[in-house]
Subunit: 308 residues, 2 copies
């Protein structure tokens, strides 16, 4: 019964997010691919809608995926931390968003909100992060203030906690680089989690707050940067930096690896991949690296909330 | 002492392979990046030469990397299977090759030969595989006959064994697709390994045989296919299929993951990445997929040695 309320909220969020991105395009719409799967051969059963906009004026690729999977018996791998869940029916659902804009002045963005329920055991997770190619400090201020505002009604400590977790999670250890300017990331949030616990109803409202604050902040940044002048130089650099996004998602991202290993719908899992990417042995533009990378390092730990 | 003989052989192979690829270019040469590293903070010490040709007429990117790493004490992770090695000095060395040709008619190729030595414990590994974008059956015949010829002087069973291992290793489980037409792949080969064992000297000669047969077969295929007529359609398909190469190397390849996790030289480890790649939600060309993918499936298990 509670699961249905989360599902309804996620369905609404997917529609709102697609509408917000379509509002920035000149008529280009999301294509919606509905899917359903019965859980044969150990795969989870489920259904969902993968909404994708490719080849837009603003968004070279934007994906907004809703998925609801579940089963009558928890798989053993999922119950290692919670052996009391073994054999129980469960449901896992979420909305994932990745945008790859065309203009190198517009950052790549990512949102995920998710819910897991198995009877009286449940938790929520979510967050958003931003990956710019060119440094604009006022976007960092806007982004982190939105992140803090999304969390503030629910817990005074949540933003700081989720911001630190985000910085840690989206760090590319093999490159010794942050993926971007961070944001928030929380997991396993429930009514007796530590250090922060929230009642079920507040977790649901937080999920909606996170998604709508992401939407409004990101659309504002898109509007600010969509006319950024650029040439082949910035475009090349963007394609090269997108390689880092691929490396992170394929080497480190838990959701991507779990999806690929558990035999999910690969094209949908990999909608996070950029539409076009380049690799080169050395950075093609040390000067643009010199503007971006040290700047990303200086952002960590700075206080964005008391910023003018 | 024996380690030095392997190192000398690998150094020679790197030079031969670079010369062979340069012979197909119109003056473009490999850039050689020599590196040396002392093993601080748990990293392995080592040295090597990363040879890379980027932006060639035939090769959009070709990398031929020699690396020799080692230490005075085996790291614990490396001794799980062989606890008697804990704390011993060791050396690991190899040559890795990946080529990404420009013309979609020319397949991507991969070679790796490697040696591990820790006193009286040692093993060799190696192999090569080929990833075409357009199907040419006579290239499959040439490739597998070269693979068999590389192995034949050393063991009557090695080719069949290494071919099966290659098919298994280079299978993209998340896509239910073979990476290409296969070849050979062997690992942990030493003088009492099962089912195939070879004395040290023969292992060394096999290593050289594998590399030179790869070189000659691949150069022949390059010469056959380098003038293949193509247009934007075949180019787009090639860029899309290159995404599979990225997915395999970042999600499944043990060497890549070990390198990234152990803090190696990331740009050198990722020289296997294609210079330019595209992803899309659905295949951009189901007709070209229809020519390539069922064909790849029919190749598995076919006998290429009695082929006319």
């Amino acid at each position: 019964m509670n699961d249905e309320r989360v599902q309804a909220a996620l369905t609404g969020l997917q529609a709102q997010l697609c509408a917000a991105f379509e509002g920035e395009e000149n008529g280009r719409r999301f294509a919606r691919d509905s899917w359903e799967r019965d859980g044969q051969q150990g795969a989870l059963s489920g259904h969902g809608v993968t909404a994708l906009l490719e080849g837009g004026e603003v968004f070279e690729r934007a994906g907004v995926a809703l998925s609801i999977v579940g089963g009558t018996q928890m798989p053993p791998a999922a119950t290692a931390r919670n052996p009391q869940l073994a054999g129980r029916p469960f449901r896992a659902m979420g909305v994932s968003v990745v945008t790859h804009p065309r203009n190198p002045g517009v950052p790549t963005s990512h949102l995920n909100v998710r819910f897991f329920g198995a009877g009286d055991v449940w938790w929520f997770g979510g967050g958003f992060d931003l990956t710019p190619y060119l440094p604009f400090e006022e976007d960092v201020v806007l982004w982190h203030q939105a992140a803090a505002a999304a969390c503030r009604p629910f817990s005074p400590e949540l933003y700081a906690h989720a911001r630190a977790h985000c910085d840690e999670y989206f760090y590319l250890k093999h490159r010794a680089e942050a993926r971007g300017i961070g944001g928030i990331f929380y997991d396993d949030l429930h009514d007796h989690s530590a250090p922060i616990a929230l009642p079920w109803q507040q977790c649901l409202e937080l999920m909606q707050s996170v998604a709508t604050h992401y939407r409004d902040a990101y659309v504002r940044i898109v509007q600010r940067r969509r006319e950024t002048p650029y040439g082949e130089r910035e475009r090349s650099y963007q394609l090269y930096r997108r390689g880092r996004y691929v490396e992170f998602n394929l080497v480190f991202d838990r959701g991507t690896l779990f999806g690929l290993q558990s035999g999910g719908r690969t094209d949908a899992i990999l909608m996070s991949m950029p539409p076009e990417v380049r690799w080169s042995y050395r950075s093609p533009d040390p000067e643009l690296d010199g503007r971006l990378l040290p700047w990303l390092t200086t952002l960590r730990g700075r206080d964005w909330l008391t910023h003018a």
